[in-house]
């Protein structure tokens, strides 16, 4: 049922560079966990390809950051990014939510990331998953208390 809606908006090259900086600052690479950052070329290509409905919101976000940076967010020294970004995060939660959504859904389906979490890099179907049965004796106290339903014919 792939939707027939098409999203025409695309990021410019400059906007893409800014987005790469943003997602890399959100989820950086980690040697300790053996994972790439969200600005890893493969992951970032997936983010760009999958933007769709979030494109306009992310364009707005980048526009605000550029404006508050005197023209170019990525043109600022990296140590100044946080000072510009933090108030925007507070003031524009919906735009930030779009950025988080666009980043997280691609980052956490990357093979390397999934493996680092102990997951198999595959879709749920057709293999599925195991869920342990549990101990049905846990219900014994509930059974012992007896019926609790309200019988309207007895009131």
């Amino acid at each position: 049922m792939k939707t027939e809606i098409h999203f025409q908006a695309k990021l410019t090259s400059a906007q893409s560079r800014t987005l790469a900086v943003l997602v890399g600052s959100m989820i950086p690479a980690s040697d300790e966990h053996g994972v790439p950052g969200a600005d890893d070329p493969l992951i970032f290509a997936d983010i760009l390809k999958s933007l769709g409905r979030e494109t306009v919101a992310i364009q707005q976000l980048i526009g605000i950051l550029d404006e508050r940076s005197g023209g170019s967010f990525v043109g600022l020294p990296i140590e100044q990014h946080q000072a510009v970004l933090e108030p925007v995060r507070q003031e524009h939660p919906l735009l930030i939510a779009a950025l988080i959504t666009a980043t997280a859904r691609c980052y956490y389906r990357d093979d390397r990331v999934m493996h680092s979490l102990g997951m198999e890099a595959r879709p749920p179907f057709p293999k599925g998953f195991e869920v342990h049965e549990g101990d049905w004796a846990l219900l014994d106290p509930v059974k012992a208390r007896g019926p609790i339903w309200r019988n309207p014919d007895r009131e």
Binding site: M1, C106, Y107, Y108, E130, R150
Partner: protein, 550 residues
Amino acid sequence: MLLTIIKPRIERPLSQLERADVLIIGAGASGAAVAWSLAETRMRIVCLEQGDWVKPTDYPSNGRDWEERQFTDFNINPNVRRSPADYPINDSGSPIKVVNFNGVGGGTILYAGHFPRLHPSDFRVRSLDGVADDWPIDYPTLEPWFALNDRMMGISGLAGDPAYPPKEAVLPPLPLGHTGTTYGRALNTLGWHWWPADTAMATKDYDGRGRCINLGNCMAGCAQGAKASTDITYWPHAIRQRVELRTRARVREITVDASGMANGAVYFDVSGVEQFQPADVVVVACNGVGTPRLLLNSTSNRFPNGLANSTGLVGRNLMFHPYASIRGFFDRPLDGHRGPHVGTWSQQFYETDRTRGFVRGFTFQFNRGMGPALTAMVGMMTGLIPWGSGHHEAYRMLFDRSISMAAICEDLPEAHNRVTLDPVLKDANGIPAPRIEYQLSANSRAMLAFAIERGREILETAGAREIQSEAPILNGGWHLLGTARMGDDPENSVVNSWGRAHDVKNLFIVDGSVFVTSGGVNPTATIQAIALHVADNIKKRLANLFDADA
């Protein structure tokens, strides 16, 4: 023969299709059940459905982008999903947004598969608690239809739930897993009720469906076919019995003849061409928003305020079930995204206890955890996962370690909560769209607050940390009820006790619109039981179906 319709706005003759004995509008939970039940009569039955079939291979669980697609083409909110089958809904006047699915199977495609019945007390709320109205039918009336529906849908569960009168379980319950075990221990400590949920997930191969293999993500459709959506339960049986299901057929209006009887429906076919389907009986099964929308769009000289709307009640008394969501995180791995979202429930707080500050009650639906991407989204949006170098450590403290619950609160009928037609918004075919006006009542607010406190108590008892709550859930308008209520008094209801419109003797409504009250449970089991009850009455009364006193 050219069509004769009382409305003047049709400027060209419509093609006239072969007459149907019964025309059903909507192929979801109730439309499928009524089609299957009536099929044995060998009447000519046609069902018009505005959406299409969904292929199992199209469900998100087939791909690596399965989490993403919950937010795009399988989004539960039609205003976000915007598929060609969807119609827009102006819900800006409601704190709860309507969610639905338009296609064969209707809402059962995207529902969680939680499958409780209404309780006996739900049909007698006026008598028992002095609020709203009693239903014109009761639990024993519906009991055989509940049971039949459970068999048709292949419902899993465990017999002996103390919160219900005795009832049979068709299939074994879903596994408890770490989630059910965690909740069960906490509730036992508190001395509160809990039980394996009745669910629509087949736990064994059943009627051509594969058993549940714990794909999770049930609310974006089941690629395995284990979840009982009516496209794979009722419809194959109905179609084998020669019911015709016509998809991509969006009904604009139900038409009436000079005597005020329904005589068919005008619809747009897959090519956008208007067609007229004549019929002797019309059954509406479009849900609690789609049905009043259709009736209000069906105006004529005879029914200037909409079909079956002489009381002005069509669209009024909309009930949603306000939801509270409570989530907690643990220091150990749990089920995560593996397995059906639902699994156990508690009805400790279902019945009225006035010391709580509200009447009626709610069900706790206990849910498993989140997938990897959703964990990150929730964690970052709630501040539990920071940006930057602390991201990975914080993420690993949350992933696979959360469980949640939903409190499904009884929503009492209020006339000002309603569906009307939007004066501006229209769908792709130019049909006026529904507009929702809805306010939470003081009773609902008190119930939600109480539910959150009890939910926190359960999670704290279970050992959770970082407990979060939300009420009402914004995209929580799953249950669309009450907008064409049933009753014995034609002055105070739209349909009678067996679904026939008081105003139009060959018009039937079988979806959640006919609910008098909402109960505090997911309504699909009751909607389908009512549809089977209405179909049974139609079959029994065929000889005098249209009589005033039938």
